[in-house]
Amino acid sequence: MNDFTHSAPTSEDCSASGNNDSGQNRSGYNNSGYNFAYLDEQTKRMIRRALLKAVAIPGYQVPFGGREMPMPYGWGTGGMQLTASILGADDVLKVIDQGADDTTNAVSIRSFFERVAGVETTTETARASVIQTRHRIPEKTLSNDQILVFQVPIPEPLRFIEPSEEETRVMHALEEYGVMHVKLYEDIARHGHIATTYAYPVKVDGRYVMDPSPIPKFDNPKLHMSEALMLFGAGREKRLYAIPPWTRVESLDFEDHPFEIQAWDEPCAICGATDSYLDEVITDDAGGRMFVCSDTDYCQSRREEVA
């Protein structure tokens, strides 16, 4: 059964890859000076134990000993710690920020893991085994051998209604979620419709109300019975939670005001897609604007198909 091989670092390893930042060998040493994937093994084990609890109690926020990462809170420190804890040498990593592979946050996190883990990275959704995301779920349906890691700013869906952590914990324990419906109802009373458009609360497997992170509500249906495991990490708040594959995820609504996703009057100006989430882009200072896919890989792959 013991078919893993490994080699101890030798002086040859060091000299051969002396000026290669991402030089790796099977023992987990690398020339970045950090352990494989940055975090030490003890920290990874702590996060891994918490992840198993999170998966076993879908939607429940498990506390973990969040570590300081080499970037500020709000830039995805929670997602990064989860990615670092699950990532292996054979993984192919994709990182997106609001659907785009080429924005600052996505580029920095991708190059961070290239450097400290030496893993292969990609922008193609279908090729990735681990996808770290800020505020979007890729348009392409994920498969069972992929893991989606969300960056979460505020994990507690009840926080804006009840500021006390002690209180919200009791509310979750008692399944006391009426106040969340009151908030949605106040939307209807004020605006005539549910005005919440992102971080739209969901109920996981009929039990826990959960914040799906600030994804547009357009993405909420993709959470339901997804084939891919979804992990959520909040670095500042030091909470992680999960939705296993094939789990019921309902967006909260009312019989007479059913949950609806955003729709646009026009297709993507670049690829012509009518089924994807569109960003509004201002093109000049005379009121010109266009709508384009927020998922850059989806948009590009559609254009390549046409070409």
Partner: protein, 218 residues
């Protein structure tokens, strides 16, 4: 300490297999454990060397201990599994402390029969359901089959499972999780190098119960 685990006769801690390397091997094993817990009832084959002669654990259970336990965890060991040298091996390889109280254990190495004798494993509370004991169960055999029917998160429709007859007390305990959710016990069930998981969110039914419920629903 209880059982016969206090003194190593001839088995030395280093006779128990260690991870091939601390970083990648543990990562590979963890991903298998994560996959197992995400999709209850699916089997994983864990790559770990054979255990020393006389050990009552399964290689898969030992692999789970090596992957998950460290200085921060407390382990409770069923006396029937606590063969000479096991405690020393746990201390040597993981640094985890052995507890005599099941209620204090983060992980418990058990056999199915244990669940009819010991009822005090930590289930967590409604506010902190994560403060519970995770069972690592050693059994004779795991097979796909339909003695037990699993459904719930991680399972598209339902998933069948066949265990040896001795597993009844274990499965009876795990099926009780549904009534106390989110409190409950999560379990890794192992035989040889094989491992599968049953999460507390998993609905566990004997085949006959399942058939009766389906009939009722129709």
């Amino acid at each position: 300490m209880t059982g016969t685990g206090t003194r190593a006769a001839n088995v030395r801690p280093r006779d128990w297999p260690m991870l091939d390397d601390g970083v990648h091997h543990s990562q590979q094993l963890f991903r298998q454990l994560l996959s197992a817990m995400s999709e209850p009832g699916t089997q994983q084959t864990l790559a770990v060397a054979e255990l020393p002669a006389g050990a009552q654990l399964s290689p898969a259970a030992w692999a789970a201990v090596l992957t998950l336990c460290d200085l921060d965890t407390r382990l409770w060991v069923e006396p029937r599994l606590a063969t000479p040298g096991l405690y020393e091996a746990v201390a040597f390889h993981t640094g985890a402390s052995i507890t005599e109280s099941p209620a204090d254990a983060d992980f418990a190495l058990v056999v199915p029969q244990t669940l009819s004798e010991v009822t005090s494993f930590a289930e967590g509370s409604d506010a902190w359901p994560d403060r519970s004991t995770t069972l690592i169960v050693v059994t004779d055999s795991l097979a796909e089959g339909n003695d037990w029917v699993l459904s719930g998160p991680g399972i598209a429709d339902c998933r069948g499972l066949t265990l040896s007859a001795e597993a009844v007390p274990l499965m009876a305990r795990l099926s009780a999780n549904l009534a106390t959710f989110p409190r409950g016990l999560d379990a890794f069930i192992t035989a040889g190098h094989q491992l599968l998981a049953v999460a507390r969110s998993t609905r566990v039914e004997a085949r006959t119960e399942h058939a009766a419920r389906i009939e009722e629903d129709v």
